[in-house]
């Protein structure tokens, strides 16, 4: 995916913060100052003071001469760092990856975030408005690289949204300082008459390096997107992953098992501290010849039991082809779930479905025979017997309705009802006898019919009239007649189940 970055520049970070705390300062010229070599030096100036010609780095005494009414406020050492961190955490609302750009900005990785606001324009507008509401004057820019976004947010004049691949064109008219260069490099560039990035951007690289040092090339490449730049997010996205690089490539099963055991133990103990269990784990083995071998296991319950997971993996290890050897193992919990803490008991009187041992038994069976082999049923709200069940999705799932108890259902239900020949009095009586698989059964006893309508709102079909019958040997069957009696179309009789 194309990376997109937003650079936010707080133009008057500390003064805006002060005005927020002391609103009366908003109308006055004031500056922040810090002790430096025995005198007060101005570190930041308010908008009004700036208009009167005060700038950061001035000695406070000079400023007082220039603007007699100026108010000098004591600065604090780590004020801007603290403020930026706070703002960074606050801007997690815009993107999960936010980083502090010391001393007066934030960098946000907004790849794939802007569309949630309906596009980059509304995204940036919302950002500006929200900061404004907080009382901060900001400038923002969005671009493919951090370097370009930073440059445009500080020095850009035309537009804040730099489209994909437009970095070079957008930074051409900007001054060299937009490249985040050290002061002496910018100074030298100015001295040589290179007032715009464009005037030296296309120069030979070796020449630039010799004259201005590596820093210039690095910053230029980063702005153009030729070199990747890494930011340190405030809230690191920590995946449930463990890595184990090997000193020597591993080719044996024993070696793989040892590595897996160690990884499982590390991952499980880390996840245990966070109360999270593994539902699906993937082991990636990086081979020396750049091939990646992957195996995965799934569990029925969120599991933190290393030895159980190892047992599941054991069946899969034989699928790995180590080739020339595996040099890196990466174990990742792809699917996780919160584990309910269970109090340890000395003994359990009642066995139950929620126990870990049972879940592990089912995992073992599922690993061998597939997940489809293990079924648990819950009642469904249908009268047709074949539709009256639904599969439970987990061991914890409880029925949402009670099991129907009033209706008699046979213990054996045929997958498909089978047609039988009957002799039956019309219109609505149970058959007198029926022939199933060549054998004639004479009906001795029968219960009244139970009519089950086809569900016309789902599918068309005829109703069924079910009868419980008992033959001369005392065997009990579940028969039904499909539809009404008709002169033309004779109704079909079927056997659908066996009673106990």
């Amino acid at each position: 995916m194309q990376k997109r970055f937003v650079a936010i520049w707080f133009r008057h970070l500390k003064t805006d913060w002060l005005i927020k705390r002391q609103p009366q300062l908003a109308q006055t010229a004031f500056a922040l100052a810090l002790q430096d070599h025995g005198r007060l030096r101005i570190t930041e100036v308010s908008a009004i003071a700036k208009a009167k010609g005060i700038y950061a780095g001035m000695v406070a005494a000079d400023a007082k001469v220039l603007v007699p009414g100026i108010q000098i406020v004591d600065d604090q050492e780590n004020l801007s760092a603290g403020l930026l961190e706070k703002m960074g955490h606050w801007s997690i609302r815009f993107t999960p990856v936010a980083a502090v750009d010391f001393p007066d900005g934030l960098i946000l990785d907004v790849s794939g975030c802007a569309h949630l606001w309906g596009g980059e324009e509304t995204y940036l507008k919302d950002m500006l408005n929200r900061f404004k509401k907080l009382g901060y004057h900001t400038r923002v820019a969005i671009a493919d690289t951090i370097g370009t976004a930073w440059a445009i947010s500080r020095y850009g004049r035309v537009k804040a949204i730099i489209g994909t691949g437009e970095q070079a064109a957008s930074i051409t008219p900007l001054p060299p300082a937009a490249l985040r260069l050290p002061a002496e490099v910018t100074e030298r560039l100015h001295k040589l008459g290179l007032y715009q990035v464009g005037s030296f951007m296309n120069m030979q690289r070796s020449v630039l390096r010799r004259r201005f040092g590596k820093e210039l090339l690095l910053r230029l490449n980063q702005a153009l997107g030729l070199e990747e730049e890494i930011i340190t997010p405030l809230c690191p996205v920590e995946p449930w992953q463990e890595r184990l690089p090997c000193m020597e490539p591993i080719t044996t099963r024993k070696g793989i098992e040892a590595a897996l055991e160690q990884l499982l133990q590390q991952l499980c103990s880390r996840m245990q501290r966070n109360g999270i269990g593994i539902r699906k784990a993937v082991l990636n083995c990086y081979r020396v010849d750049d091939d990646i071998q992957t195996v995965s296991v799934e569990t029925n319950h969120a599991s933190l039991n290393g030895s159980h997971l190892f047992k599941l993996f054991e069946l899969e290890i034989s699928l790995l082809k180590p080739g020339w050897g595996i040099e890196l193992f990466v174990l990742e919990a792809v699917k996780t779930e919160d584990v309910k803490p269970v109090q340890e008991t000395f003994f359990t009187l009642n066995s139950s479905l929620q126990s870990r041992e049972l879940a592990e038994l089912l995992d073992n069976l599922a690993a061998r025979f597939g997940n489809a082999a293990i079924n648990r049923y819950l009642p469904a709200e249908h009268h047709l017997p074949e539709k009256s069940l639904q599969l439970a999705s987990s061991l914890d799932e409880q029925p949402s309705i009670a099991w129907p108890s009033g209706k008699v259902r046979p213990i054996h239900l045929l997958r498909e009802p089978q047609q039988i020949e009957v002799t039956a009095p019309i219109p609505d009586y149970p058959p007198m006898n029926f022939r199933y698989k060549g054998k004639l059964h004479t009906v001795k006893k029968a219960d009244a019919c139970e009519r089950i309508e086809a569900e016309w709102w789902i599918a068309r079909g005829l109703h069924r009239d079910y009868y419980v019958v008992e033959d001369e040997e005392g065997k009990r069957y579940w028969l039904f007649r499909l539809g009404h009696y008709d002169e033309q179309v004779k109704p079909g009789w079927f056997i659908h189940g066996f009673f106990e």
């Binding site: 049923y377 239900l413 006893k445």
Partner: protein
């Protein structure tokens, strides 16, 4: 002197039963299946749990009767809660019907496999899991060696296992505590009522280790067993068979 010897012999007998895997807990702590006439034929007059029981059926109707009887037995064993695994490669059991036999259908885990061999493997694994109360497996044939493994697993985990053999090639002896044959017989509706009555079975306990085989007619009367054996067909006097 003689009475002392008799005491010792009784105690040793009980010890032997314990070693053979029979429960000898105090009477109030054991699960009753609710058919005193059958239970009387078992050692200690307690339905043996934590061991294997074998059921043989030939016709599809008898298989249904067997399933129902076993479901009812498991329901009695699980009356204080628990879980049950039903392992089969040819399952036609309809879960909703289990409700009538005192089993909560959602408390049962159905393991539906492809081959008989897989059923045997799953059965052994399940019998080792002590969180299950009963394990029911539908298989055609089991050899003695495999059944011995089942028996050893149940003795350790105290799970009760039921092997339902439908049309086995040979009724070979396997390491089980008992062998049963269940077949359905004509029901008797309540006096003066039309229709089909409560399910009724002919329960033949063909072999039982340290017990007395017998034959009974049992009815499942809604939520409990009822012995409806006619007096003339009561316990057939048979010499003690050495089985298992």
């Amino acid at each position: 002197m003689k009475s002392i010897n008799l005491d010792i012999i009784n105690r040793v007998k009980k010890d032997i039963l314990t070693l053979q895997g029979f429960k000898t807990l105090p009477a109030d702590n054991t699960v009753r299946i609710g058919i005193p006439t059958i239970e009387a034929n078992f050692p200690n007059a307690v339905f043996p749990t934590g061991c294997m029981h074998e059921f043989i059926s030939q016709t599809i109707e008898d298989a249904a009767a067997t399933n129902a009887f076993v479901a009812a037995l498991s329901g009695r064993l699980m009356q204080f809660g628990g879980a049950c695994a039903w392992i089969s490669a040819t399952r036609t059991l309809f879960p909703s019907a289990l409700k009538r036999f005192g089993l909560e259908p959602h408390q049962i885990i159905f393991i539906d496999l492809q081959k008989e061999k897989e059923v045997l493997f799953a059965m052994e694994e399940a019998l080792k899991c002590n969180r299950l109360t009963t394990v029911i497996a539908e298989v055609k044939d089991v050899d003695f060696k495999m059944s011995r493994r089942f028996q050893l697993a149940t003795e350790k985990s105290r799970v009760t296992g039921f092997i339902l053999r439908h049309q086995p090639r040979t009724a070979n002896t396997i390491a089980c505590v008992s062998r049963w044959r269940i077949s359905s017989i004509a029901s008797e509706p309540q006096a003066g009522m039309p229709g089909v009555g409560f399910p009724r079975w002919n329960v033949a306990l063909q072999k039982v280790r340290n017990g007395i085989p017998g034959n009974w007619q049992i009815e499942w009367a809604g939520n409990s067993f009822a012995d409806v054996t006619k007096q003339d067909s009561k316990i057939i006097s048979m010499p003690l068979l050495k089985v298992g």
